[in-house]
Amino acid sequence: MTLSPIARLASVTQGYGSHRIIENLDLSVYPGVTGLLGPNGAGKTTLFRTLSTITPPWSGHVELFGQPVDGERQARRARRRIGYLPQDFGFYPAFSIADFVRYCAWLREVPAKNADSMTREALGAVGLADRAQDRMKSLSGGMLRRAGIAAAIVGAPSLLLLDEPTVGLDPAQRLDFRELIRSLALAGTAVVLSTHLVEDVGAACDTVLVLNEGRVLHSSTPLQLAELADLAAPGDNPLERGYMTVLGGHRVNGGSSS
């Protein structure tokens, strides 16, 4: 039996103004955790904005949950099932954490009758249940990030897009976070996770994509990426070296895919 993708990009070209950032990209996202690695400017955030339907592609096709996204109506329908934590996620400082998460649930059109219970569930999942009434402005960086994750996962989205979610989390919180996304993936959610922390990918992801200059250089399991490691490549562990090998090869080869 063939597993159908939650999200599929076919020949997508995308950019801002006249600047092309993603070019002719083909990508399929399946249930499980997909890690997105790449240097700054590789197009990770642009890819997230395309997957979250914020920006329509210049060309190519986006398909989410088996349906093509050709306009605002289809995009809105898809957004109900997408949880998105932007890299620089905003928040209303005067809101309590619970209100912020509930507000995000409302934005995603989570049915009102479930909103409260799902908010509690999301806050519990990130360990903020006992701080639910704290104001957002009173939170530390790590707690803000956790509130952002709660806002992204509220309502049990089918596709969860997390742009650098572990920034500001301490080691224990990062372990909890990995556990959380693994459990979401087990429940059938497709999680796409962008990070510069390769160990997060190694520990939590089923698939890893290496992105550079708007193109997928490599797609495999973390183990397979680690196996590619050139012993001379910089890095503290096989996965890091594998990543650097892929990137290095791309640079040496002038952009060819591994």
Binding site: G17, P56, R76, P86
Partner: protein, 431 residues
């Protein structure tokens, strides 16, 4: 509903609500008190607060609307399934709810204070609707400005000042300052202002966002065509209703006397009857006493059988009714004294060079005014700014403080100046 309640709970206006209510009540009671017990005046007093509440609401609305951009929320909002207009509607509705709550508290206070004295009736809805339209207009303008220019300080300040100045300077009036019962608001201009307010509110939530410099390059999904249509439609209706408002004529017009049964009374049997608009019920006892005092001013002076308040007997030749200006019955004394003078001596027009005759006419009129008030002239003239009649004031004051017999002598002498030539005075048909 969920987001509306959250916006309501987290709005800075909720914290500021007690302050808004205090401003409301300070304006209500600090400006004047004569509105208490007069329904249209109480309605206007409750509505006048929009002069301050409107700009304040515009500022807060601008601040609230710009908060999304300032807080870095646009990306989250753009990724939302909920359409933008719903998000903006929840925010504007929360601002309006709290602004209108302060307004309604003021209205209810005005009603509560008037209830015992004013008699049948209630606050006039037209004035309250006018105030509501003003608040919605300014909150909507602030919301739209805040969405387009999300500065935390500049936009709210410009909105507040702009709204305040526009209220004073624009030819289209957003409020009225007095509500005498002989006047009423025209339904059409009020309805047009309400339409303008509604269209602006719709425009404020459906208008597409302006792209900020840091967002210029981000291409977005297009807004649904029907929302764009609503935005364009509301902009057209806003402009049309604004033009129509300025073309709709006066906001306040004469109230037809035929529409009401005047409230009439007399101090005692045989005294002149005094008729007022029903809303001026609280002044009737004092006015009937004034009429009674005038009736007793001397055997040769004739008092009209009745006195009518301004507006109750309009004729093509004008209206000689008495006026109660800003709660002062002293202004009614002027018209009443003139009525007695005209009934007794007719309408007099001596040659301009006969200054003493003109002086005598002023003297008698003022003396009658003082008589009607039943107070010492220094008391009855208090707060009344009379210019050009100082000589008459002095003479009438001196006369009214004299004994009754001396007053009679003084009056006879003054009268004799006027009666030197019978051609100077003619009977007044209107009395």
């Amino acid at each position: 509903m969920n987001a509306y309640l959250i916006e309501l709970r987290r709005s800075p206006l909720l914290t500021a609500l007690p302050l808004l209510v205090v401003v409301d009540l300070v304006v209500l009671f600090g400006r004047s008190r004569y509105w208490i017990g007069v329904w249209p005046e109480a309605s206007v007093a409750a509505q006048v607060v929009t002069i301050f509440l409107g700009p304040l609401l515009a500022a807060v609305s601008a601040w609230q609307a710009g908060r999304s951009s300032r807080s870095g929320m646009p990306e989250t909002v753009l990724a939302a399934a909920r359409p933008l207009w719903r998000i903006e509607t929840a925010r504007l509705a929360a601002t309006l709810t709290l602004g209108l709550a302060a307004y309604v508290i003021g209205c209810l206070t005005a009603a509560g204070f008037s209830l015992s004295e004013a008699g049948p009736g209630f606050l006039w809805p037209s004035y309250l609707l006018l105030g509501m339209a003003t608040l919605v207009i300014f909150a909507s303008v602030g919301h739209l400005a805040g969405r387009w220019w999300p500065s935390a300080a500049f936009t709210p300040i410009v909105c507040a000042l702009g709204c305040f100045i526009s209220m004073l300077a624009l030819p289209i009036k957003f409020n009225v300052l007095a509500g005498p019962p002989d006047q009423r608001l025209q339904p059409l201009p009020v309805a047009l202002r309400l339409l303008f307010a509604l269209a602006l509110a719709v425009l404020a939530v459906t208008a597409p966002p302006l792209r900020r410099s840091d967002e210029v390059q981000m291409r977005r999904q297009k807004t649904a065509w029907h929302i764009r249509l609503v935005a364009v439609g509301s902009a057209v209706v806003s402009l049309t209703s604004l033009v129509a408002t300025s073309a709709a004529g006066e906001l306040r017009v004469d109230r037809p006397a035929a529409a009401v049964v005047p409230l009439c009374g007399r101090a005692e049997k045989g005294s002149p009857e005094v008729c007022v608009w029903p809303e001026h019920r609280k002044y009737l006892p004092e006015l009937t006493l004034m009429a009674q005092r005038l009736d007793q001013s001397g055997s040769w002076l004739k008092s009209p059988q009745s006195f009518h308040e301004f507006g109750l007997r309009r004729t093509d030749l004008g209206d000689r009714g008495f006026d109660i200006a800003e709660g002062h019955v002293r202004t009614a004394a002027i018209a009443m004294a003139d009525g007695v003078f005209a009934k007794s001596l007719g309408r007099c027009s001596p040659p301009p060079e006969r200054e003493r005759v003109w002086q005598a006419m002023d003297n008698i009129r003022l003396w009658l005014e003082y008589r009607s008030m039943g107070q010492d002239p220094s008391v009855s003239d208090k707060g009344l700014h009379m210019q050009g009649v100082e000589a008459a004031q002095n003479e009438a004051t001196r006369a009214s403080r004299a004994s009754e017999s001396e007053q009679r002598k003084w009056l006879a002498k003054e009268r004799s100046y006027i009666l030197q030539d019978s051609a100077w005075c003619t009977a007044d048909d209107q009395i």
